[in-house]
């Protein structure tokens, strides 16, 4: 065995030097690099996104409680090195002169906010600027809505119970102002020290005390686990990851783009590895036969092969991981500034996955043909046409594909995505293969008509049969990916960014009484705002599922508990709203009001474990309504339009129940009109999401760059497949061209023949690839990303051109050397 290892080492060094391993090694490095780059990047970015999302909580972790939290909580947080801030909030009526208004009073300490920044303005709805610090004792920052309602200028006095506070500024933005519409009343921010002195807190039951925490991911996670084990059910713990549907939705989508690119890259690289290994094995046939004739045993042949492959795997994994890390730093640099916090260091897991990928790819796709080498008949040294018994590819390749899929699943954690990538590629390969067989037959039939070079080229396509089909599949796959990248990628990314156009709504108007709906719409359109679409809006509480009270089936997660315990926003709709996609069940056509139906969002379904047909009972303003779950929707929350976890069929709720809500886009010039709106429609609540919108848009823009960058790897993998396919028939060509030249064919005739053959293969593969790219592009856009996709005829033109040019030219150029070398030398070398 030692002998075999040494021989393997020597052979490895030799093969590396001679470039024999170049394609195999290159494909491996690309796969590992793509996986690690994206793996490292997504692991780091997801940590950073969490910190970013923390802005929406003004902290990384937040504990809300109706009582004063146990002092041990804070002591433990300090002991773990976390920063802590305190927040007290309660509803209270505030007065300015004779005017009064219900407001949410927020008392904060100097540490607030732990994440993000407060913004204040000098006049209501005026231009705002960020500040550090909080209101001084005796002062208050009130939001525009409150000041507009009270007709109170900045500098005026606000009465809050026995307290008199001077309004020092307009509170324009605070990070935790939320999107959940929970804080419906306007806000006034005060110094907590003032509140502790006032008697207001004595009133008790409505006061919420919150502890805000921030720190490193590990410390926060550990503390959250510690707290979760101790806190009472009445204390609600929220972490950053569940804070904003919009932010999560945008980052998930970009993560999916990145992962998809990495998946396709790995799978393509696997194809390249398989092809390169086949050629490598076939080029080793002579060496193995010679070794055997010199007395090498099968075990020796096997040992050297496996050992050499292991060396390739190790070096490929190392080089790939290093390249991946490098690429990842580039990626991190590209998205710099996307995160206010610096990116946390990457975890080591992707490096192991890289090694695992390299090993799996080689074991699965390279080992089978190489193992076959031990069966090379030694008599091949005398009769060159003797070959090992043909390998049955099916079983080992299937096993390898399954192993690779499992590995990718571990990495990406999204079975649907892996399914699409593997299924898409396998499906394309199958279709390409079948079409290839058919086309080769057709080629055989038509070759009589053309000139000498074409005849020779086409005859080759037909004669090489099996090899031609393999080449068509490989060319087709790589062209498909190239076309997808060239034509569909831009569409997808544009479309994605278009889902949040410059005019995306940046204000929500809620609590619109039915009687105000029309005047409000007129008010807005009169000021140049696009006519708003009003959605009915009802607050309701879930009472029971299938007659079983919620107390009996309380979900484990805080989020699920919130769904079960808190009032939900719901609406009704005749049609499926634009940002929604059905994932289960059917949308109602002509629902019978006597048989109430409800549609639930997938998050709601998951947390509460619901299925189609479950009966949900709600308490809607004191009235009990029971509805059957008709379908499940996947909601795109990043569209900034009103969307609901729960939607009833029309007619279930009385049309007069509840209020309306809408979202509008207001530019800076239109914003001051809000002061008048709030005065004219006192019950309407305005929620400003411009800041959040800006964050989401920034993530999208930067993520789009990151996606383009990762697609670079995919492109390289596609080219590797192309190259491997061109290489695969090189030796045969060398021999053939030597014979033709010996027979008197000029170099030029032979070269034209080669060019004709590659161009024909490229054209065939190009047409097939264009069809595949259209179908895959459509599937990916509509199924995976919920985007609109329009078919584009230029893809066929692109396919034909790319096929003829890339395959034809690259193939001819790559083979030119073979044709050039002297026939004598070529014949002798075989």
């Amino acid at each position: 065995m030692k002998k075999a290892l040494r021989f393997a080492l020597v052979a490895f060094v030799r093969d590396v030097k001679s470039g024999e391993l170049a394609v195999l090694f290159g494909a491996l490095v690309i796969a590992v690099a793509a996986l690690t780059a994206v793996g490292f990047f997504t692991s780091r970015i997801s940590q950073a996104i969490r910190a970013q999302a923390g802005e929406v909580l003004a902290a990384d972790l937040r504990l809300d409680s109706g009582r004063i939290p146990a002092p041990g909580y804070e002591a433990e947080a300090h002991a773990r090195g976390l920063a802590v801030a305190h927040l007290i909030s309660f509803p209270s009526v505030v007065y300015a002169g004779d005017a009064s208004q219900l407001a949410t009073v927020l008392g904060v300490d100097g540490a607030y906010p732990l994440r993000g920044q407060l913004k204040i303005a000098a006049v209501p709805y005026g231009p705002a600027h960020p500040v550090t610090g909080i209101p001084a004792p005796g002062e208050a920052w009130a939001d525009s809505r409150l000041l507009a309602r009270l007709a109170l200028p900045v500098g005026g006095l606000l009465r809050l119970g026995a307290l008199e506070l001077r309004v020092a500024a307009v509170l324009d933005y605070r990070p935790d102002q939320g999107m959940g519409f929970a804080d419906l009343a306007p806000t006034v921010l005060v110094n907590a020290a003032d509140l502790e002195r006032s008697v207001l807190l004595g009133s008790g039951s409505r006061v919420t005390r919150s502890l805000l925490y921030a720190g490193s991911t590990e410390a926060v996670d550990a503390y959250a686990a510690w707290l979760r084990a101790r806190k009472s059910a009445a204390e609600r713990l929220t972490d950053a990851s569940e804070s904003s549907e919009q932010m999560k939705s945008a980052t998930e989508r970009s993560g999916r783009f990145l992962n998809l690119a990495a998946l396709v890259t790995v799978l393509l690289a696997a194809v390249a590895v398989a092809m390169a290994a086949r050629r490598y094995a076939s080029r080793r046939l002579d060496l193995v036969a010679l070794l055997k004739s010199l007395g090498a045993s099968q075990r020796f042949v096997l040992g050297t092969t496996v050992a050499e492959l292991a060396l390739v795997a190790l070096c490929g994994a190392l080089a790939g991981t290093a390249l991946g890390l490098l690429a990842e730093s580039g990626l991190a640099w590209l998205v710099r500034g996307l995160f206010k916090t610096s990116l946390p260091p990457p975890s080591l897991l992707p490096a192991w996955l890289g090694l695992g990928t390299a090993a799996t790819m080689l074991a699965g796709f390279a080992l089978p043909p190489l193992l076959q080498l031990r069966r090379v008949p030694p008599a091949r040294v005398l009769r060159h046409d003797l070959e090992p018994p043909p390998l049955r590819w099916g079983a080992p390749y299937l096993a390898a594909a399954a192993a690779l899929s499992a590995l990718l699943y571990v990495l990406v954690g999204d079975p649907r995505l892996v399914g699409y990538a593997v299924g898409g590629l396998a499906g394309s390969a199958l279709v390409l293969g079948m079409a290839g067989v058919a086309l080769v037959r057709v080629t055989a039939a038509v070759r009589g008509g053309a000139g000498a070079a074409w005849r020779y080229g086409l005859a080759n396509v037909a004669r090489r049969g099996r090899e031609s089909v393999v080449q068509i599949v490989a060319f087709g796959l790589s062209l498909t990916v190239l076309l997808l990248l060239a034509l569909v990628r831009n569409d997808l990314i544009d479309e994605w960014q278009r889902s949040l156009p410059p005019g995306a709504p940046n204000h929500f108007l809620i609590n619109i009484p039915p009687s105000d709906a029309r005047p409000l719409a007129e008010f807005l359109t009169a000021r140049g705002v696009a006519p708003p679409v009003l959605a009915p809006w009802v607050r309701a509480r879930l009472v029971s599922v299938n007659g079983q009270p919620m107390q009996g089936r309380m979900p484990k997660t805080d989020r699920g508990r919130a769904f079960a315990e808190r009032e939900q926003n719901l609406s009704w709709s005749e049609a499926l709203p634009p940002d929604n996609r059905l994932v289960e069940g059917a949308w109602w056509q002509h629902p019978d009001p006597a048989q109430p139906l409800v549609s639930v969002a997938s998050e709601f379904q998951d947390e509460l474990g619901l299925k189609i047909g479950d009966r949900l009972s709600f308490d809607v303003a004191g009235e009990s309504i029971t509805a059957t779950v008709a379908n499940v929707r996947k909601v795109r929350w990043d569209g900034f339009r009103p969307n609901f976890f729960l939607l009833f069929a029309p007619g279930v709720l009385d049309a007069s129940t509840g209020t309306f809500m809408t979202s509008v886009h207001l530019d800076d010039a239109q914003r001051p009109a809000l002061a008048e709106l709030v005065r004219r429609f006192p019950s309407v609540t305005v929620i400003d999401v411009a800041a959040l919108l800006g964050e989401v848009r920034r993530i999208m823009d930067r993520a789009a760059i990151a996606v383009e960058y990762v697609f670079g790897f995919t492109l390289t993998a596609g080219l590797a497949v192309l190259f491997a396919a061109i290489q695969s028939t090189r030796d045969e060509r060398r021999y053939e061209s030597a014979i033709l030249r010996t027979l008197g064919a000029s170099r030029r005739t032979v070269l034209y023949g080669v060019a004709a053959e590659f161009t024909a293969l490229g054209l065939l593969a190009g047409v097939l690839a264009a069809s595949a790219a259209s179908v895959i592009g459509w599937l990916v856009a509509t199924r995976l990303f919920g985007l609109h996709y329009s078919f584009d005829a230029t893809v066929w033109l692109g396919g034909l051109l790319a096929g003829a040019l890339i395959v034809g030219v690259a193939g001819t150029v790559a083979t030119r050397r073979v044709v050039r070398s002297s026939p004598m030398r070529s014949l002798r070398d075989v």
């Binding site: 002998k3 030799r14 001679s18 010199l294 007395g295 090498a296 040294v381 005398l382 009769r383 002798r828």
Partner: protein, 227 residues
């Protein structure tokens, strides 16, 4: 003593047109140190017979005894082991490993056999064929005749009992070929290596002590010459 014996060796292959007999009932024995030539027109089955004699392939019927060991009773690895100790090859197309230097090519069988002073012996063998100065050259940097001399050094470096050569001069011009043939017979004399040469060149065959003629797979004559 007989170093090689062929008993009723027959090779049949199945083809679309039915069973094809390539070598038919060939029997002969070779004494140690003898040089024999197998001649016959192209396609008469010479290479096929050689493959079976060297244990590279198995006959359909009949047996081959190499150094008294029945090849048909061994598995592929057993035959490989036997070759490693006792058999050398020289081929028409040289079969040097293109990515190995001349010296490394000669080292190959020694390394496979795990010989201790491999380097020294390989250098000696290369020097013996007059190519020590070219030891760091790769096959593509050598002429055809030089390549074949490296192949001869590789074949004799293990001091085999038997050397099989299939058309050793087939790819060489007559002058170069003569030099190669000279080397083969020198080794035959110095080391007592038995030579089994397949050739269609009369001049080469005439130098052998015995000439077997194969005709359509059958042994048609067995002439002991005067060499």
């Amino acid at each position: 003593m007989q170093v090689l014996e062929s008993r009723h060796v027959t090779k049949e292959v199945s083809s679309p047109e039915g069973t094809l007999t390539i070598v038919a009932d060939v029997s002969f024995a070779v004494e140690r140190g003898q040089s024999i030539a197998i001649i016959g027109p192209s396609g008469s089955g010479k290479s096929t017979l050689l493959a079976m004699l060297a244990g590279l392939d198995l006959p359909s019927r009949g047996t081959v005894l190499l150094n008294g060991t029945e090849l048909t009773s061994l598995d592929e690895d057993g035959r490989a082991r036997l070759r490693a100790g006792h058999v050398g090859f020289v081929f028409q197309s040289f079969h040097l490993v293109p990515s190995l230097t001349a010296l490394e090519n000669v080292l190959l069988p020694l390394e496979l056999g795990g010989v201790a002073d491999a380097q020294v012996r390989a250098r000696e063998a290369l020097a013996r064929v007059g190519l020590d100065a070219r030891r760091r050259h790769y096959p593509r940097q050598l002429s055809g005749g030089e390549q074949q001399r490296v192949a001869i050094a590789r074949a004799f470096v293990t001091r085999p009992d038997l050397l099989f050569a299939d058309e050793p001069t087939g790819n060489l011009d007559s002058v170069t070929g003569a030099r190669v043939v000279e080397l083969l017979f020198e080794f035959n004399r110095e080391l007592g290596t038995t030579l089994v040469l397949v050739t269609h060149e009369q001049s080469l065959a005439k130098r052998c002590q015995r000439v077997l003629t194969l005709d359509a797979g059958r042994l048609s004559s067995d002439v002991v010459g005067d060499a």
